[in-house]
Subunit: 290 residues, 2 copies
């Protein structure tokens, strides 16, 4: 893999759907189809003739989730959708899996437990192919909802208590797939009150940018840099580069944290964010919903 080359692929992390109280409620992740997020995924992948591969590895009910995505994409008119039900590292090394990923225009990672994706795909041949194709193939799309969005980061939020947030150690970090190492991605952001854990994650890695994706909301990230909000909610951006004080490194676990001058942006449909310049470009108020 060449370093510093311009990234040609597109990432679409999605915040997950309405929280109905079931942890990482993967069985509900398809309701957002009505609001057009999945339509944006198909459009970015080149339209209804795109080869779409659904990976339900994060889910505890991969068969049902896979079937739901087949139905959802077919409702949108997609003709070439396959489910790749990876349940182990070995599954990630099969010829079948490798062929599917090599020929996909779009890979869709379902919700569930993000650590499962790292454990079963991380470091395998299809992980390498995903990175390679994301970097080099114009129009190649990797979309993911909930766990499937969070795993796109390198420093991945693996879990953490919302009620204990801002107490050092409340957030658990793990390695993600490293597709966009500049970000820390959190999902279900509004309904589950995840400001605290994203703040702690950004305090741990203050050079990274935190994205908190609300339910039914996504980001289209082009060239690893240019981000546009889609969906009905908002994306909260945490920029730790302005911090003048951050005691995360020296605090004991279980101690409340101090952070001074954290910069926050609240972005909604059509608003843009540039990862390299860390600048916001907001939509004119009269612009139509995208």
């Amino acid at each position: 893999m060449k370093i510093m080359q311009k990234i040609k692929g597109t990432l679409i992390p999605i915040g997950g759907n309405e929280d109905k109280g079931i942890e990482e409620s993967e069985i509900y992740t398809l309701e957002f189809i009505d609001d057009g997020i999945l339509f944006h995924v198909v459009e970015a992948a080149g339209g209804v003739d795109a080869n779409i591969v659904v990976i339900p590895t994060a889910s505890s009910i991969p068969v049902e989730v896979g079937e739901n995505y087949l139905t959802a994409f077919s409702t949108l008119g997609c003709k070439h959708v396959e489910v790749l039900d990876i349940r182990s590292k070995e599954d990630s090394e099969t010829e079948h899996a490798i062929e599917l990923i090599k020929n996909a225009d779009c890979v869709m990672l379902s919700g569930g437990d993000q650590s499962k994706i790292t454990d079963k795909i991380g470091g395998t041949t299809i992980h390498s192919i995903l990175i390679e194709r994301y970097k080099n193939d114009e129009g190649f799309v990797i979309a993911g909802t909930s766990a499937g969005a969070m795993v796109m980061a390198n420093e991945m939020i693996a879990g953490g208590s919302a009620s204990e947030s801002f107490i050092k150690g409340a957030v658990n970090m793990y390695k993600g797939l490293g597709l966009i190492p500049e970000l820390i991605i959190d999902t279900h952001f509004i309904r589950r009150g995840r400001f605290g854990r994203q703040s702690e994650a950004v305090a741990k890695f203050p050079n990274l940018i935190g994205f908190g994706l609300a339910e039914d909301t996504g980001m289209i990230i082009r060239n690893g840099n240019e981000c546009t909000v889609i969906g009905s909610g908002m994306v909260i951006v945490f920029d730790g580069s302005t911090l003048t004080h951050n005691n995360e490194k020296i605090l004991k676990e279980g101690t409340p944290m101090t952070m001074a001058n954290l910069t926050i942006h609240v972005l909604s449909n059509g608003d843009e964010y540039n990862i390299k310049t860390r600048k916001v470009k907001v939509l004119p108020i009269e612009a139509p919903f995208i």
Copy 2:
């Protein structure tokens, strides 16, 4: 009342206690005594000989709440504690009420529904006395927990859905007692996930500073300006003066908001904030818990 004179009194807003799922759970507001917050209130009021008046007006169970405070203050050794059970504007005009407030060293406003305090005390004689004494009497303390903290502001958060936050109209504002008009105060901040509604409140009044008080956490505000965090949690400060974009004024109700460059501070025990300069002064890491 003289304008621009230096304020001599002390305010101690407190974030309320652990949320056990009962809205504005006033019956639990006394558990924080163990963690020393009520001790700080007594100390600021001059110690155990201070005249303390408890006003349980916000509560739906004022008799029980009043009794709980009597027990709590007496456990701390306080000798002169009275409950002033105001249930109407008329109750706020009685000679008894006026005398108690005139002679108090400390007034403690309980949790419950903050709008009740505005409706039953706002604009009455004891409201005027509270403001007058807060401005002129060195050592006069007004403390309040939950609703009793929120009502200290002028632009008061009266309610609002956490899950619908960042959607314009999700927060309901009402008039508070106006003791510290520079602030918008929210409580139960971490466990109830109230970042969104405080952000919307600050977007509505971007010249004001938002304080989000966590459970079991308070601010000692001296001279209407110098704030010190007490308790086991944190205070999140929202400074809207850095906003470069804020479409709150022009959005329709029900529309997701955009805000760029909101400044956030996360402060914990011993950290200080200056309202006039909007500057944070953090505690050295080796400092003892206060």
